[in-house]
Structures are given as C-alpha cells and as structure tokens.
C-alpha cells in the first residue's frame, strides 16, 4: 500500500460520508466534488490521465454544476436536509445500492486475485488508444449510447417546444 493511494482513498471515502451526512445542500455538493477530485487523483495513479481529466471536466465541471444549479434554484441557504435524509424509502434504496456495490467490489477483488498483477500494454490510457477502443472494440456500445442521447435530445425538444 502506498501513501498516495491511502491519502486519496481516505479522502474519497471521508468526503463520500460527508456528502450523505451534511445538513446543508451546497456543503453536500462540495463533498461530492471532493469525491470526484479524489477519484481523479486515483485514476492518475492508475496511469489513466485521460479518464482522470474526464472525471474532472465532465463530472465535476458539468454534471455537478447542474446539480448545484438546481440547488441554488430551488433551495435557500437556510434550508436543511434532515427531512430528506430521514425519509425511509431513500434509506431502503440506499441499502440495496450498497449491497450491489459491495458485490461488485468483491467480484473485482476475486478477479485480481486469480489473475495477479498484469503489466500495462504500450500506450495504455493515451487518447489515441481510448479512441481506438471506442471505434473498434466497443463500437456497438458507443452507438447505443449515442442513440440514448438522441432519445434524450428529442424528449428535451418535445418538452421545450410549446407547440410542435
């Protein structure tokens, strides 16, 4: 275990706990921001700088900004989150999510144990290689995702236009 990993792993987990326990909406969002940054740092450590940058620019720079936008639009700084946090149905959903996540982590750890450490191929994590993966090995997945986005786009136009 190296110090770099432990620092950012602890940071990510700590900030994650803060995110779900904070009583103020914006503080909670900033907790999530810290989680994203810590994860990006871990991706850098795993020799995947492009993924790290995407983590920052898409999750922290775009998605979370939208979340913050909604928070600022609908809440005031004096609003508290206790009501939502004590809602039983959210807690039950949370239990299922955690169980699924733990299952995934256990599966991944088992795979690591079976295969052992593998050395990285040349050019691992470079933009070119990720592009090749996208348009050669995972073309179908890529296209399915783009169709999904198209559907969302059409829905947005439908909702946005008063008269079609």
């Amino acid at each position: 275990m190296d110090l770099y990993f432990i620092t950012f792993a602890v940071m990510a987990v700590g900030a994650g706990i803060f995110t779900i326990s904070a009583r103020e909406a914006l503080a909670s969002a900033l907790g999530l921001l810290t989680v994203f940054v810590a994860c990006a740092a871990l991706y850098l450590h795993l020799h995947a700088p492009l993924i790290a940058i995407f983590q920052i620019s898409i999750y922290a720079g775009a998605i979370l900004v939208l979340v913050v936008f909604v928070i600022m639009l609908l809440m005031s700084p004096d609003d508290r989150l206790e009501v939502i946090q004590e809602n039983m149905s959210y807690r039950i959903m949370g239990v299922f999510l955690v169980a699924a996540m733990i299952g995934l982590v256990v599966k991944a750890l088992k795979d690591v144990k079976e295969h052992g450490a593998v050395s990285l191929p040349d050019g691992f994590g470079s933009p070119g290689q990720i592009g090749e993966f996208f348009f050669r090995d995972y073309l179908l997945h890529f296209e399915v995702a783009s169709v999904l986005l198209l559907v969302a786009l059409i829905a947005a136009i439908y909702l946005g236009k008063k008269k079609l």
């Binding site: 503080a27 940058i53 620019s57 922290a60 600022m72 700084p77």
Partner: protein, 346 residues
Amino acid sequence: MEDWIIDLIKVVFIWVWCLLIAVVMTWVERRASAMMQDRLGPNRAGPFGLLQPLADGIKLFTKEEIIPEKAKKILYILGPALFAIPAFSAYAVVPFGDKIVIGGKEIILQVSDVNIGFLYVLAVGSMGVYGMVVGGWASNNKYSILGGLRSTAQLISYEVPMGLALLAVVLLYGTFSMREMVLAQQGTFLGFLPNWGIFKQPLGFLMFIVAAYAEAARVPFDLPEAESELVNGYHTEYGSMRLGLYLFGEYVNLGTLSGIMVSIYFGGWQLPYIDMSAFLGPVSYGIASFLVFFLKQAFFLFLFVWVRWTVPRFRYDQLMGLGWKSLIPLCLVNFFITALLVQLTV
C-alpha cells in the same frame, strides 16, 4: 541542477508572474478606462500612478475582515480560495516560451508538457465556477445568490462552444499537447501568411474568443456581477483581501485565457517570417521567445479591457440565446468543415 529544482523554479516563476500580471492589470484597467472616458484615472501614486496597485493591495490587506452575521462561515471563507486555486493552476500547461539552455541543460519554458494539456485547461477552467457559487450561496443574500445562480448557468452554457471550438483545433493539429500545437505553427501558410491557427480557424477563433469572454464573466457577459442590477453579485458581501482574491483570480483567468489564445491561434512564442533561433544565442533566444509570447498575451489582455469599456452588457436571455442558438451551431459547422478539410488534405 536536479530536475525537481528546475520544476520548482518554473512553478514559482509562473506564480509570481501571474500575480504580477494581475496587479498590473488592475492599474491598466483603471487607466485605460479613464483614457476611454476622457478622464485621468489614478495618477498620484508613483510615475503614471503605477504604484496605485500597491496602495490598493495595502488597503485590502489592512482592512478589517468582516463576516456577515447571516453568512455561512466556513463556506464564506472557502469561496475566494475555491475561485483562486483553479485560476492559478490552469497556467501550468501554457507554454510561455520555447526553451532556454542554462549550463548545458535544456529547459522547456512550460511548467508541464503533458500530452493531454489541452483538456487539463478545460477541466481546471470549469472548476472556477465553484468559487462564484460558494461565494454567492455563503453570503446568504438575495443578490449574491442570484449572481451565483447566473454564473452556473452561464459557465456551463459557454463551456460547450469553447470545447467545440478547441476540438476543431485538435483535429487540425492532431495533438492535445499545447507545445506541439505551437511548434506546428512554424513557417508560412499559403505562401505569404504566417502559419498561425487564426488563418486556418478564423470562425473557430471568433467562437473561442466570445466563449472566453463569457467564461471569464467579463463585460459584455458579466451577468454574475452586473453591478447595476445585482450590486456585484456573488462578491457583494466580501471585503478586505477576500474580495481581493476574487478580483485577482479574475485577472489571472484573463492572463490564462490570453495565453491560450496566443498559443493556439497566434503562433505562441514565434515571430512571423523570422526564425529567432537562427541568430540568437541559446539564452537570449529563450528570453526573446518569452518576451514575444508576453507581448502577444499583453495585446489580448488589453483587448479584454478595451471591450469592457466599449460594449454594453447583454441581457440574460440574450446571453443564453447567443450561447445555445448561435455559438453552438456555428461551432458545430466549423467542426464539420474542419473535419472535412482535414480528411481531404491528409
């Protein structure tokens, strides 16, 4: 010298240089605005009032730090830092000169030449919005919250055209490294023009500069501040050096954006038609390339001031309309034309 010492020197140098640019820019802004409005501006402290920023700095540092009673204390203190840190770190990948040879060691004049430098600028640039949001929210004041709200929507809208304009540049040069992009702009284009990005991406540059003004929240897109309607928006409640950090961070942002424009569209440290490395020694070439870069950057910094005191502010719906209905479609057109041209010429 050890490599890490060189890196440290570069980081400290850029840090100090950014601060210096920001400090001088406060003076330039006031003097230039005075010039354009037929006034004198600050001219008492030192020659031409050049020591005015120093006086302002002393004033800001020695003022009492007031935290409003209803403010969210921790977030209120955090806000300016969240704004300033991304502003200062974005400069790390901008090449501010070619290279300099000292003691037989070749030093690249760029803090870090990472191969995804370009995306780094976009990613870090998009983090600056949190400073405004946290400042506005923590002040717990209607105007400030409105300012923060406007900044989120504005910055997220203009990131899209900015990214699309830059993507076309990536297509053109086939690299994400800013240094390689500058190096690709050597020589001439069509025989008589300097081989700069602007001549290959005129539309892209126009889109980029408009998006950059919006990203920096400068007039005509300074809706988050809008002193006449929102009383300075997200930093209404701030005083002393906390306000200073917001103002400084803004000028540092301008410096970075100008640096990016120069590197991508205006040949970086290179002079048109003249190859400086042919007749200058290794040390003087390094310094000359830095100066050339700085002169170009200074022009764009002045352009920011020039535009601010010339153009009126947009209305908010006009701002959103311009971003989504004009810039993004035009950027897409530019992107596809570039892709077609690249395909045809390769």
